[in-house]
Symmetry: C2
Subunit: 395 residues, 2 copies
């Protein structure tokens, strides 16, 4: 296929076209699963006060081995101001409660003995035992989370603990999915009309990949398409043809009329040969084929890595090698990406009935890559795979 771009060169061009990840300061509760765009510094000490780590008695070291007076208990959340601890006294204290001044250690309840309304302390008490000092987990001003880190549920809790209300993150990319073709109808009544399957499929794929997706259907009308593309407020605008060749051929012309630069058009791959990438300012346009399997492959192999990079994530999906449960076919002249189900190292190729068939491969979670001219591999042979969907992005 002289003249066509090879699939790896196309992926390199696609990733190189991605502008630097955007940044935003978002409420911490909206940051789950995003990547930190900057180091985060604590705005408050954690803990905010010297804190008891155990249920027990707050004591002075000099009282080790003595029997001392029991003062009023201090519970977690106790906001009353307590007298500094004097010699010969102890405060009963609960885990998490603030330690009053004068206290030098907390002695666990099981190391003490009640003795006629007083309490007997052990012979040896370690200084600062069972007290987390104010700021001991994180002091105000200290960096507690590094740029590039993932915001996990624990990050949210730690951040709230150190006083963060917002985090600076790479926000979710915005994707516009534009399905083109006058034959698309949500409830087709006339012959030749078909349901739009690509739009919902692509929206689901990009949502799974962490994007915010806006979806539209446009008929075979270059002016309407151009207006739609000019207005699309998104990082990436993904077009998918209906199945009409006429529509598809309009896309490069419409993009040029918008002033977009065509970065590539047509890739030496099967399915997905008509793939197109264009750029206008910071907006990227991806023209996907109308064939559903081709649209799926191109979305997984090219668009989702672009979205991952935009959101500050690594873009290489998980790959592996497994054993074929049934034969992989021989290939002809173009690189062939074949859907497969990979489970516990076992690889089942899901050959579609036709080039557009989604029914048979719908449980696939990986693509096999058959190089040009590759021989068939029998069942039991080993083969490499690249995961997509939830299986593609473990750390």
């Amino acid at each position: 296929m002289a003249g066509l771009l090879e699939p790896d060169a196309a992926l390199d061009l696609a990733l190189a076209a991605v502008p630097p990840a955007t940044r935003a300061t978002l409420p911490i509760g909206d940051c789950l699963g995003l990547v930190l765009a900057a180091n985060a510094a604590a705005s408050a000490d954690l803990p905010p006060f010297d804190r008891a780590m155990m249920d027990g008695y707050a004591v002075r070291l000099a009282d080790a081995g003595s029997t001392v007076e029991i003062l009023a208990e201090i519970a977690a959340g106790d906001g009353s101001v307590r007298e500094p601890l004097a010699p010969g006294q102890a405060y009963p204290i609960m885990t998490g409660a603030p330690v009053p001044s004068g206290v030098e250690a907390v002695v666990p309840q099981e190391q003490t003995r009640l003795d006629g309304g007083r309490v007997s302390l052990p012979e040896r008490i370690r200084p600062h035992a069972n007290i987390v000092p104010r700021g001991g987990e994180c002091a105000a001003g200290q960096s507690w989370a590094a740029a590039g880190g993932l915001v996990t549920p624990m990050t949210i809790a730690a951040g709230i603990g150190v006083g963060a209300t917002h985090l600076e993150v790479h926000p979710r990319p915005l994707v516009a999915v534009v399905a083109t073709g006058s034959e698309l109808a949500s409830d087709p009544r006339s012959p030749g009309q078909i349901r739009d399957t690509n739009g919902p499929m692509l929206a689901a794929l990009f949502q799974e990949a962490g994007a915010i997706v806006h979806r539209q259907v446009v008929g075979d009308d270059a002016d309407a398409l151009q207006g739609c593309l000019a207005a699309a407020a998104a990082n990436v605008i993904v077009l998918t043809g209906g199945v009409s060749a006429g529509t598809h051929d309009e896309v490069p012309g419409v993009l040029r009329a918008l002033g977009a630069e065509i970065l590539f058009h047509k890739v030496a791959q099967r399915p997905g040969k008509p793939l197109l990438l264009a750029r206008q300012g910071r907006r990227l346009f991806v023209g996907l084929p109308g064939n559903p399997l081709a649209a799926h492959l191109c979305a997984c192999r090219y668009v989702i890595p672009m979205l991952r990079r935009l959101a500050g994530f690594p873009w290489r999906p998980h790959t592996g090698r497994g054993v074929l449960r049934s034969a992989a076919p021989a290939n002809s002249e173009r690189t062939w990406f074949l859907p497969a189900l990979v489970e516990a190292g076992s690889v089942l190729p899901l050959l579609p009935v036709s080039s557009a068939d989604l029914v048979r491969p719908h449980q696939a979670n990986a693509y096999l890559r058959l190089e040009p001219g590759a021989s068939a591999i029998p069942a039991g042979g080993e083969i490499a795979y690249t995961c997509f969907g939830a299986d593609a992005w473990p750390r």
Copy 2:
């Protein structure tokens, strides 16, 4: 720790307490990432008509080797009724277009030659070549997706293609997260008050696990707590103490007053010894410790597997073995679950500064399990881990 339940026995009891996964018929677009609760049958043929697989000419077999008359082109989405194809004629046809009656094959454009307004066909034409017959991918009435399968983006597209508007699935579990403790405040102004970190952390964990989460904060008031629990419309109600021991001790009494059966209380583990599980009808109550690390461990190790089972998923998270980047400590008498960061087979234990510290472990994606009395393992030694979060559930 005689008398305390062992961690594996506690997990078995927790899973055994989960009622059968619920079922619901949901709009197909809302089913992404859910498990099918029943086989799905096609309500329409896919494709809905005999469909061209290539751009080319729709021809009769008897015209192989002849030069024939060219009729008006048929585009994808063409709804007009065409005359049956007569001998000596060919329809130019686009990929995806409906094939008129009388057509016996579609010949790809590159195998033909234009000849003075007519087209020359190849010598050999295979019957049905490049035609997907009506229902060829899936016939109406045929099962196209099996119970237990995951709804993927491709499942949504395939389902729309075969006429599905809804799917019968196991819906997202409903979880109520109830943080208890009068010391909890969203913007603490008085000393001793702390921010609620457990509520947002647990909500994020359960959302990541696919649940719909409703969150509440209740003060140290048994009546208010009982009213809240009685009213909670959820599959699983998760309580997390503040840090006050008083509050926590109220939970079993309040649950008994509601008529709930306590299935277990206290587990021989560190952190998370006070873990409690109760059941009332189909509702499950989980009492988590107020210590944030303990609440996290118990949520990952017990609650999320329960939620996965409720949603029809496998509940065993991903486990593996890796090489320690720094030493794992020796353990005393209770099973110790220690957060760690696992990356490419390398395991970094993230020892918290104190028993409640979330700052240091917030990038963890796995727990290490140190058995009672286990010796320290030096850096470079091998250790088993269990993933949590997004890393826990690859297929």
